[in-house]
């Protein structure tokens, strides 16, 4: 019973959203609004269950241990001051704590994973004996392509001369090929999402597929 009603509600809502393709209508608007409220409502429940209860309520209020956790809780509560204009500035404290420390923590890790590792992976041999020609060509494309791409996004020198002029031309071509790949994959992804919904309607709801 629960399953059947659920299936029908899900199917009707799916169709309600699709109806927008024909024309904007109240059913679509209803679905659009419900989703905003329900996602936040769901998040409240999960956040309490996963964070506030095990990390604050249980240790501090039920067992009376780790009383130091009251400090971050108070800090977090300062967010609420945002609704009282006169003391709203207090809400900057928890933000400063999270933002500052978060950024500081991320900095060296980002340097390691996004910069150093990537440079290292670009310093590869152009020619490896025994490699098939398409891989050798590939290695050349990786190294020269990355260099050319960097030249294109380099703003301190005009795009003139053999290095910067030619380099930036190659760079934009490489970048366009990269965007072409993104384009193709984006089309693919959007269609996949539609396939998912069609599968739901045809298979789960109408039971037409096996």
């Amino acid at each position: 019973m629960y399953e059947t009603i659920g299936l029908w509600v899900a199917a009707i809502l799916t169709l309600a959203v699709f109806s927008f393709l024909y024309k904007e209508n109240p059913l679509y608007r209803f679905a659009e609004h419900v989703v905003v409220g329900s996602s936040l409502g769901y998040t409240i429940v999960i956040t309490y269950q996963r964070v506030l209860y095990p990390r604050l309520v249980e240790p501090v209020f039920l067992h009376g241990e780790s009383l130091v956790l009251i400090v971050p809780a108070m800090l977090g509560l300062l967010y609420v001051t945002r609704f009282f204009p006169r003391i709203a500035w207090l809400s900057r404290y928890p933000m400063a704590f999270l933002l500052g420390m978060g950024m500081g923590m991320a900095f060296p890790y980002d340097m390691q994973a996004y910069i150093l590792r990537q440079i290292q992976a670009t310093l590869i041999p152009l020619y490896t004996p025994g490699a098939p020609w398409y891989n050798t060509l590939g290695a050349v494309v990786i190294v020269l392509g990355t260099l050319a791409g960097l030249i294109y996004f380099f703003f301190s020198k005009p795009h003139k001369g053999p290095f910067f002029g030619f380099g930036s031309k190659v760079g934009i071509w490489i970048i366009m090929i990269g965007f072409g790949a993104t384009f193709g994959f984006t089309v693919m992804g959007r269609i996949s999402l539609l396939i998912g919904r069609v599968q739901f309607l045809l298979s789960d709801w109408l039971g037409l597929l096996h």
């Binding site: 659009e32 260099l147 703003f155 301190s156």
Partner: protein, 441 residues
């Protein structure tokens, strides 16, 4: 991961040792295997009971245990190595490494199994990774390694008092390269911030997109049709939005000079107020504050697709000659640019959203790609913060470009000097070693 190995091996060899197992306890054959499956759980394994069993084959115990400090830690790890038993081939399956704190309970504290290693595998382990058996800084432990045979016998080695205690270090030597990278980056960025604040003449190359912007405004003026400017759908905290607002100021100035109508629909209320301010100011600077139309900058709605519907409606009704989409966009980019392209407008886009860029490139006449948007706005705005940021990042890119160029040269040299086949001769690999941080993983 090796902890379960013992169980696996025992299961395989169980038939051989089953007689022995039954002597140990009267349970069914699987039960003892269950107990030993998680040696670390049964931290109270007593060595004495194991000793009572009389070994049928004489197997020498494992040899000396050496404990050394583990580098680059908080003093909470120890490097333990042992000499394997010379009779390893005679049926030793695994080694168990035991640890205890001496003197805590007058020497009777129970031994804890901190690690189990398969025989023939490595004989060096790092103690302290297991959060249930933490190593405390400054404590002198005792270690003992026992060999375990296929028939579940334990042959314990000598008790060794650890030669060292765990010491915490104040600098992680493996992270030196990351530190150097960080220092170079931070100094370059701050150097250029200072430079940009002190003198305003830092060179930035002109971006072709800026000419396209001017040309497109001119085209709209010729046709006597309005210009549409969408400052992205994101909030003011987005760098792309800030860059877009700088460019809007420039566009508004030109528009004020040419007396062309301007339409700036907004999705974010804060962006709306800033955009309105900026346009008003531009009209003032152009000397035509009177020709500013009060409703040319307006707030539409905060709902993404309702916003698109409204802007698309505007495009079909008023048929603007030029559309600007600069800022942060999501899926709506497609719908906006499609409608604009059908209305025959010239379209200029710019965003740092990589997934939306391909759509803009194929539907618009000119597209500012990613950082070009920031650079264009820094070029136009000449705001020290933005110029300094672009210049500082450029300097870093310059370093990377140099490294890659040197890499290319070394790679070519390697082909002729034989470094391509012999890694020890390769100059490229030496250069690669400078940025190699894989040892941290």
């Amino acid at each position: 991961m090796l902890k379960h190995l013992e169980l696996l091996l025992l299961m395989v060899l169980l038939p051989f040792g089953i007689a022995q197992a039954q002597e140990v306890g009267p349970q069914d054959a699987t039960a003892p295997a269950v107990d030993s499956s998680n040696p670390s759980d049964s931290s109270a394994v007593s060595l004495d009971t194991a000793l009572e069993v009389v070994p049928p084959v004489e197997i020498a115990p494992p040899g000396a245990v050496t404990v050394s400090d583990f580098p680059n830690d908080a003093g909470d790890h120890l490097l333990v190595s042992f000499e394997p038993s010379p009779d390893e081939a005679l049926g030793i399956l695994v080694y168990r490494i035991y640890r205890r704190t001496p003197g805590a309970t007058d020497g009777t504290e129970e031994w804890a199994v901190v690690k189990t290693v398969a025989a023939g595998d490595h004989t060096e382990i790092v103690d302290g990774y297991d959060p249930d058996y933490l190593v405390t800084q400054g404590t002198q432990y005792e270690y003992r390694v026992a060999a375990v045979t296929a028939d579940c016998r334990e042959i314990p080695g000598e008790v060794t008092v650890a030669q060292v205690v765990g010491r915490g270090e104040w600098f992680h030597t493996e992270k030196l390269k990351v530190l150097i990278g960080c220092i170079i980056f931070i100094s370059l960025i701050f150097y250029y911030f200072k430079r940009a604040q002190m003198c305003h003449e830092l060179y930035l190359r002109p971006i072709p997109g800026i000419d396209a912007i001017d040309e497109a405004i001119g085209r709209a003026t010729e046709m006597g049709k309005p210009i549409l400017y969408v400052p992205g759908l994101s909030g003011i905290e987005d760098v792309a939005t800030i860059a877009s607002l700088t460019i809007l100021n420039r566009v508004a100035k030109k528009v004020a000079e040419y007396q062309t109508p301007l339409r700036v629909p907004n999705r974010d209320p804060i962006v709306y107020t800033v955009a309105e301010e900026s346009v008003k100011q531009a009209y003032m600077e152009a000397g035509r504050p009177d020709s500013y139309e009060a409703n040319s900058v307006f707030f539409v709605t905060d709902s993404q697709f309702a916003y698109v519907a409204a802007v698309n409606g505007l495009m079909t009704r008023e048929k603007p000659a030029t559309n600007f989409y600069l800022g942060m966009f999501w899926a709506e980019s497609l719908l906006l640019a499609e409608t604009g392209s059908l209305s025959g407008a010239i379209q200029i886009a710019g965003t740092d959203a990589i997934t939306q860029l391909p759509f803009f490139i194929t539907t618009c006449d000119y597209t500012l790609i990613g950082e070009e948007l920031y650079a264009a706005s820094a070029y136009l705005g000449r705001e020290p913060k933005q110029v300094g940021s672009v210049k500082g990042q450029d300097a870093c890119k310059g370093i990377v470009m140099t490294l890659v160029t040197v890499g290319i040269i070394l790679s070519l040299v390697d082909i002729f000097t034989g470094g391509a086949t012999d890694p020890s001769k390769s100059l490229l690999l030496k250069l690669q070693g400078l940025v190699d941080v894989t040892s941290l993983e």
